[in-house]
């Protein structure tokens, strides 16, 4: 391993880290665009806190819970709190066969961690109490995410079984989606959304903000997937760029046609969610697919979105930003797709994918449900009607997002 190659690899991993960080701005803008004007300060506050909490908790123990080292194939492990840079070359060129340094490993992974909470924050927006939500985030990102993450990326039992999840369709996105589902089930829908005479949508206050969010997320995804190669390997990283981009594009087209067919309308939020669906869908197998496969996977993900959004609405599961459809449903689809398309395709693999989806799904959903349930029956998780009507910005923050 030459110093030049090591440096090039590590540089790419750090650029990816920065790109993944920017996804948090993407989430912040997407979510604030999809909520009402009166809850924008609240959603921004949550996003600013989540990334901060996520990074610190990952520093305190998350990283060492997710990568405990020791015996592979386990269910749980912990390498002790905080970070300890291995001496000399062990922490540098030798740390990951010249892919990146110990510090890079930590910060790249840390940027991923907070994502799972951000996904939840969008789904429970406009009605959840700030304090209890932040408590949930601390527990979710410090305990739940690293444990299930360890099962695969930490060389745990799912990894041993052959479960494959390249960049986290399941480990990151579905995990966030399950948390979101538990949250909205216990919170109930926003007042006035599901009325006697049918669904009364509550339009987001700014489509430009939402669109900015989607473009930024796509941009950040180059680091999310591209960085998951864990080196700057020219062939692999460039393939991942191609599959990721084509899946996102196909997702837009898929959502375009289905929503036009379903609602006779050029539905911007659907197309935006379609892009995200395509990105989530390709994430599990971005390095295993041909361009053609990625187009199919993305296109199907895009088609899933409108159907899924309608499905959740039918069940009165109120998700202002569509996080469950994008991250949970498309995350599952993407994980399954690894068993259907690409290098690894095969029944055995498909079964392994299913095992991973189900086991992680059960663990995460139960964890999130129990935490939200406990909070609900103690401090309470929902703001009162008056505050919901007036808006959480005034209620929780005594200020408004806009002076316009």
């Amino acid at each position: 391993m030459t110093e030049g190659l090591f440096t090039a690899n590590n540089t790419w991993m750090l650029v990816s880290t920065a790109l993944v960080f920017l996804m948090h701005l993407g989430f912040a803008t997407l979510e604030s665009g999809f909520v009402q004007k009166k809850n924008v300060v609240n959603i921004l506050f949550k996003n600013a806190m989540i990334i901060s909490i996520g990074l610190l908790s990952y520093y305190v123990c998350g990283f060492n819970l997710m990568y405990p080292g020791g015996e592979p194939g386990g269910f749980f492990g912990f390498a002790g709190p905080f970070l300890e840079m291995p001496e000399g070359a062990a922490g540098l060129v030798e740390y990951a066969d010249g892919g990146y340094t110990y510090w890079t490993d930590f910060i790249f992974q840390a940027m991923f961690a907070a994502t799972c909470c951000t996904i939840v924050s969008g789904a429970v927006a406009e009605r959840i109490k700030l304090g209890p939500f932040l408590i949930f985030c601390v527990l979710f990102v410090t305990i739940s995410y690293p444990i299930t993450g360890m099962w695969k990326w930490g060389a745990g039992w799912l990894d041993a079984r052959g479960f494959y999840d390249f960049a986290g369709s399941t480990l990151v996105h579905s995990v966030g989606g399950w948390g979101a589902l538990a949250g909205i089930m216990l919170l109930g829908p926003r007042a006035g959304k599901y009325t006697a005479n049918g669904i009364k949508p509550i339009p987001g206050h700014s489509m430009p903000m939402a669109a900015i969010g989607v473009f930024l997320l796509w941009f950040g995804w180059f680091g999310f997937n591209g960085g998951s190669v864990l080196s700057a390997d020219p062939g692999l990283v460039s393939l991942v760029f191609v599959t990721t981009s084509l899946a996102a594009a196909a997702g837009a087209i898929g959502a375009f046609f289905v929503s036009y067919f379903m609602f006779k309308n050029f539905d911007l939020p659907m197309v935006l969610n379609g892009i995200l669906g395509g990105l989530v869908g390709i994430t599990a197998g971005a390095d295993q697919m041909s361009p053609g496969n990625s187009v199919i996977i993305g296109f199907i993900a895009g088609m899933i979105i409108p159907a899924s959004v309608v499905f959740f609405d039918k069940r009165k599961l109120d998700d202002p930003v569509g996080a469950t459809s994008v991250h949970l449903v498309c995350g599952i689809w993407g994980t399954l797709a690894v068993g259907i398309f690409g290098e690894l395709a095969g029944t055995a693999q498909l079964v392994n994918q299913l095992i991973g989806i189900v086991s992680i799904g059960i663990f995460t959903f139960l964890f999130a449900f129990i935490v939200f349930f406990a909070l609900k029956n103690t401090v309470g998780i929902r703001v009162d009607e008056e505050e919901e009507a007036r808006g959480l910005d005034i209620g929780e923050h005594e200020m408004e997002a806009y002076q316009i």
Partner: protein, 111 residues
């Protein structure tokens, strides 16, 4: 002194403004309102087709002398009409006085 308040279509404002100017009515106050009426507008959001119940409209307030009222109302009707439901309403009522802040003048001189 009378005050005329007309709730009109966004799309007709330019026509109405020009028509009023022709009859010498260049001064008025405009505000943005939401009209709940017979006319409704279908909207779609994230896959749900719904009726928000209102339509964005403009309200024009004109203070004028009694003798001008009919002419102004007719002008707004003729220039603001599309014939489709939702063209709007014009209300007229009497006011006790109008005062120009700049000069303190009242009545006709204030216009």
């Amino acid at each position: 002194m009378k005050k005329i308040e007309a709730v009109i279509r966004l799309s007709q404002f330019d026509a109405i403004r020009d028509a009023l100017a022709k009859i010498g009515v260049k001064f008025f106050t405009l505000s943005e309102v939401k009209g709940f009426g017979l006319e409704t507008e279908q909207k779609v959001y994230r896959g749900s087709v719904y009726d928000p119940g209102y339509i964005a409209r403009l309200q024009i307030d004109i203070v004028c002398n009694d003798n001008k009222v009919d002419e102004i109302v007719e002008t707004i009707v003729s220039s603001g009409r599309t014939g489709k439901v939702g063209d709007g309403k014009i209300t007229v009522y009497s006011i006790d006085s109008v005062t120009r802040v700049r000069t303190g003048e009242t009545g006709a001189d204030a216009l």
